[in-house]
């Protein structure tokens, strides 16, 4: 028998898509029965009360959660988000219901053995409600009390060899795409770089010392499956700088209809026979490919590696072999001054351990941002406020037309004194000898 009536939420149990309401109800029931004899460390009916407070929000059209308050684990400034219910008497089981961010493994691969251990811990010391995963990438544990925070952290670090993720003004938990583990488009090992930098910058991740949040995201190719270009302060996008290898026989197999285009991704509709001219060559953004008889030719020097032809004919075309990544910086969501896309900073850099060149770029940027950034100012906003030139100075990188879409259309250049012959110190009397007042 449910503790709270939930007539509004109940309407979200029907329909084909997995119902979170049904899932929460089954969780409430499992906790009530407790067949596994768990010594619950937070109220056994927490999930009942979670459903109750959610129902109240559905009735009011407003949330019933309050601001965080300062909770966390000793020595860390992030990884825990305090959360309190604004109706604690009605829903005592979720009166204190803090979130823990748990740093996910690269690529979000898991052994079920490990997932079960996480479940055991969270059933014992929390609500058993999670997000798999949060938007940034962490495993999210939703709902525990303050005394349990250190206990969960202790068990994670001692028994599971697992650390928390980031929150607040620090390096947020880096995340990556499936990468070379199971994708033929990966131009570098996203898992290796993501893991390496996460370990390298543990201090920056756990102890907020930045003006605001800072995100790393790793996309193995320009298809950008983790959306790094839209949301990471530093976005690492795989690319290559040599030629696209072509298997001419496979090209013919696509033309002859023996292989479905785009891996069969368009199988739900009859689009007619595959037309390489219309579907590949004419859609190439730089017009750098054409047919010479039965041969597909690519003028690789003009290619901007948009991935379209490779996506359409993955068995005929492959990413090049001289691989690395581009670094784009300053992406963010709209708050406050409007959304920003990542801006190209490093057109090409090799991604090889120990990644020293990449770290040099990172640390140059952080030094500048920590010195000049205002409270709650993202890197992209600082770039807009102080200009791209300052970013070049901070990183020591040489200007390159690949960094811009086009040159400036105003001539208001902030010349520096040492760029102008003779400097700026002049004698007005000398000037007046030739230009009378």
């Amino acid at each position: 028998m449910a503790k709270h009536k939930t007539p509004l939420l109940d309407q979200l149990e029907s329909g084909p898509w997995p119902s979170f309401v049904s899932d929460l109800k089954q969780q409430a029931e499992v906790r009530a029965k407790n067949e596994a004899n768990v010594e619950f460390q937070i109220p056994q009916d927490a999930v009942e009360d979670l459903l109750g407070v959610m129902e109240l929000s559905y009735k009011h059209g407003r949330t019933h959660w309050k601001h965080g308050g300062i909770v966390g684990v000793f020595g860390y400034g992030g990884g825990v988000i305090g959360r309190y219910c604004d109706q604690p008497k009605l829903f005592p089981g979720v009166a204190h219901f803090h979130t823990l961010r748990v740093n996910q493994p690269s690529g979000k691969f898991y052994s079920t053995e490990y997932l079960r251990k996480l479940c055991d811990l969270w059933d014992f010391r929390g609500s058993g409600v999670t997000n798999m995963h949060g938007s940034t990438g962490d495993i999210i544990f939703l709902g525990t009390t303050t005394p349990q925070l250190e206990e969960v952290f202790w068990e994670m670090t001692h028994n599971l060899n697992q650390d928390l993720g980031g929150s607040g003004s620090n390096l947020r938990t880096p995340s990556d795409c499936v990468g070379a583990a199971r994708c033929e488009y990966a131009c570098y090992d996203t898992h290796a770089l993501c893991y390496h930098l996460t370990q390298e910058y543990q201090d920056e991740l756990h102890r907020p010392a930045f003006p605001y949040k800072f995100k790393f995201k790793f996309d193995g190719c320009p298809n950008c499956c983790v959306a790094s270009i839209a949301r990471a302060d530093m976005s690492y996008i795989g690319t290559w700088r040599d030629d696209i290898p072509i298997d001419q026989e496979a090209v013919q197999a696509y033309i002859g209809g023996e292989i479905p285009p785009n891996g069969g991704a368009h199988s739900g509709r009859d689009w007619g026979p595959f037309d390489i001219q219309k579907e590949v060559i004419d859609l190439c953004p730089t017009n750098c490919m054409w047919m010479e008889g039965n041969k597909l030719v690519i003028d690789n020097k003009e290619c901007t590696r948009c991935m379209h032809c490779i996506n359409v004919m993955p068995r005929a075309l492959r990413i090049g072999n001289d691989r690395g990544l581009s670094i784009l910086v300053g992406a963010k969501a709209p708050i406050l001054d409007g959304a920003q896309m990542g801006s190209m900073l490093v057109p090409f850099i090799k991604a090889e351990e120990p990644y020293d060149e990449i770290k040099e770029v990172i640390e140059g940027i952080w030094d500048w941002w920590m010195e000049e950034g205002k409270n709650r100012e993202r890197l992209g906003e600082l770039m807009k406020r102080q200009g791209f030139q300052r970013l070049l100075e901070a990183t020591g990188l040489e200007p390159d037309p690949r960094m811009v879409k086009e040159p400036r259309s105003n001539p208001y250049i902030f010349w520096k004194e040492d760029e102008v012959e003779g400097g700026w110190t002049r004698d007005i009397n000398e000037f007046r000898k030739h230009h009378l007042r």
Binding site: L12, E13, G15, W17, P18, S22, D23, L24, K25, Q41, Y58, G61, T63, W65, K66, H67, G75, S106, F109, Y110, S111, T112, C119, W122, T130, N131, M132, H133, G134, T136, G137, E150, F153, T157, Q162, D163, V178, A181, E184, H206, P222, N223, C224, C225, A230, I237, N262, G263, G264, A265, H266, M307, H308, V312, P314, R315, A333, I335, L336, G338
Partner: protein, 381 residues
């Protein structure tokens, strides 16, 4: 409910403390076929929506079955995922960036029993636990934020509108009929934890009433200068307010300048914005993150406001369905929603999608606004 210690000693927090160890190393969790063939994959192909295989240089294949999931997930549900992973996949699973779950097997004969098992499992309420789909030129799972389940600033719920929307778009989760893939995302306020601003279709929670001012408590709860500094439009200033004959320090809000971002509320709990009628949903469209053919694009606001209609948000889902159908009908093969809108022109987009164009949709926020106005004599009647 007796307290059980983990071994942590609150009197000596540094004793045997372990910190800064980071995440588990990824290669502990690779299934054998992945560990063996990493970096040598040649190509992939879809067998049916939600089911695909990759072929490696060694000749090995890995077959992946992708299923949708509510990202809000209980340990009971995760244990069921584990049970399936152990039964079919040697004890391995993975999750995708868009909250799907992927079950991988190393030979084709294991695929059918896996699919049958997944499709047979339903929640007590009747919904699928593990619907197979979400690949190719279709609609995959919605990435989203917390909403009313766990956040203090939302202007709408997240899990509810997502469930309602995916129910309406379910056929396209299980099909490859669209011109290209179509990404739907939801953020429950414009902090956009979900980074929805580059999605084909974005569902965004938005407040429309300026903050309430809890004068009696404001100075006790908040750092007033921080609240003032937090406002992007400088709409907040310090004020002395008289309460029961006592002068207290508080703030005043120039309501005409408020853009309803809630940044003040983030800094000061005594300035709540949430409101039953004021809060609701903005629909944005035409964004993308991929560099394929055209550059990544921001989503554009195409519907300024739809009320929160819990529990199923019918106007929101109907609007999204309308946009998807117009796109499916009008776009060329491989063309993303935003590319289609740009090719036919936004004036035509509103006509095709039967959406009203109101003054709210013309940008008036700072510099970028100018660049969205039409600076040419070219337009379509």
């Amino acid at each position: 409910m007796a307290f059980v210690s983990s071994g942590y000693n609150p009197d000596k927090p540094m004793e045997n403390r372990i910190t800064d160890i980071g995440p588990k190393k990824y290669d502990e969790f690779y299934p054998p076929v992945i560990a063996k063939n990493k970096g040598t994959w040649l190509y992939h192909e879809y067998i049916q929506p939600g089911v695909y295989y990759h072929v490696a240089e060694s000749g090995d294949k890995v077959f992946t079955v992708r299923v949708g999931g509510a990202r809000l997930m209980s340990t009971t549900h995760i244990r069921e995922i584990c049970e399936i992973g152990e039964k079919h996949c040697d004890g391995y699973v993975r999750f995708t960036t868009r909250n799907n779950i992927e079950f991988m097997v190393d030979s084709e004969d294991k695929v059918k029993p896996l699919i049958q098992d997944l499709e047979s499992r339903k929640f007590a309420g009747g919904s699928h636990k593990f619907p197979v789909g979400g690949t190719g030129a279709g609609i995959t799972n919605i990435v989203h934020t917390q909403g009313w389940i766990h956040c203090h600033t939302p202007a709408t719920d997240a899990s509810g509108p997502v469930k309602a929307t995916m129910d309406v778009l379910f056929d396209d989760f299980k099909n490859h009929r669209l011109p290209a893939h179509l990404r739907v995302s939801l953020a429950c306020c414009l902090n956009m934890c979900g980074a929805v601003h580059c999605s084909d279709i974005a569902i965004l929670g938005y407040h429309r009433k300026p903050p309430l001012l809890d004068h009696e408590y404001l100075d006790k709860m908040c750092e007033i200068p921080l609240a003032i500094a937090a406002c992007p439009t400088a709409a907040i200033k310090p004020a002395k307010i008289e309460i029961a004959g006592q002068k207290v320090n508080s703030v005043a809000v120039n309501e005409a300048r408020c853009m309803f971002c809630g940044n003040c509320y983030t800094m000061c709990p005594s300035m709540p914005l949430a409101d039953t009628e004021g809060d609701g949903i903005v629909i944005m469209a035409g964004g993308k993150v991929s560099n394929r053919i055209s550059a990544p694009k921001f989503s554009k606001v195409v519907v300024a406001f739809i009320p929160n209609e819990a529990p199923r948000w019918p106007q929101t889902t109907a609007t999204i369905k309308k946009i998807v159908e117009a796109y499916a009908k009008g776009a060329n093969k491989y063309e993303r929603l935003g590319e289609w809108a740009e090719r036919i022109g936004w004036e035509r987009f509103f006509e095709k999608c039967e959406l009203e164009f109101t003054h709210h949709l013309i940008d008036d926020f700072r510099d970028p606004a100018y660049f969205t106005w039409r600076h040419t004599s070219q337009f379509k009647f």
